[in-house]
Symmetry: C2
Subunit: 123 residues, 2 copies
Amino acid sequence: MKNDAVLREEEGCRVRLVHLDRVNRARSEAIPEAEMERLALTFKVLGDPTRLKIFTALAGGEMCVCDLAAYLGLSESAVSHQLRRMREQALVRPRREGQVLYYALDDGHVADLLRLGLEHVRE
Amino acid sequence: MKNDAVLREEEGCRVRLVHLDRVNRARSEAIPEAEMERLALTFKVLGDPTRLKIFTALAGGEMCVCDLAAYLGLSESAVSHQLRRMREQALVRPRREGQVLYYALDDGHVADLLRLGLEHVRE
DNA sequence: TTTATACTTGAACATATGCTCAGATATAAG
DNA sequence: CTTATATCTGAGCATATGTTCAAGTATAAA
């Protein structure tokens, strides 16, 4: 089979030779934009060494902000900023005890994602 | 139990009240820095809407660069730049057929990570 | 109340990221 | 060889990101 490519035109703007069937399949199977944005945000929060260290530390049990700051050698402000981003994506969860906030992984997905990611980089 | 916190001193620089036991446990369970960097890079590549659209499109079957460009409404240059990053983390794999490069997901981990991530954002 | 502790927040800054543009490379056909 | 197609690459630029600093809130103790 040679080539089922076709010349497409779209929104008045000429495009290249493409496999229209594949493009259309991808379009029909596409994930909603809003869901895609949240998925990207989730992975983006996982995609930073500092935050990953926080995640793996919390995988061993809950810790407070100043524990994490001491562990990472960072200011508590920096850690707090990071924890906020992680909270916003429901990846960690705080529990207050007096003045201290103990953070923990929010649900099983987080640990699963870490394990899978590690399997990949170790392969 | 009240508080097992202690005042630590480290590298001549005074730090706050921390739970030393928890910090030490985190330290002993820490993942090697180099591995952490690769893990962060992997998630970082997953953490962008454009690249996620490429990943999910490829989950339905292999596609060439210009197919992806047409699907995304982006230049082939932009797509090629993204595919390079994805290749560098062994997340996609090209197969040459004449002048055309067909890209596919590199291994099962990628699809698993996407599925897990979607489960999380849909919860 | 005042003081201290634990954490959060907003602004500022240096670095990183994603896209476009122009040009380079690779394969195929004449 | 020349020409065309498909993809890649480096530079440049606008925006996003991670940290620090200074100031703010929340809880507890004196």
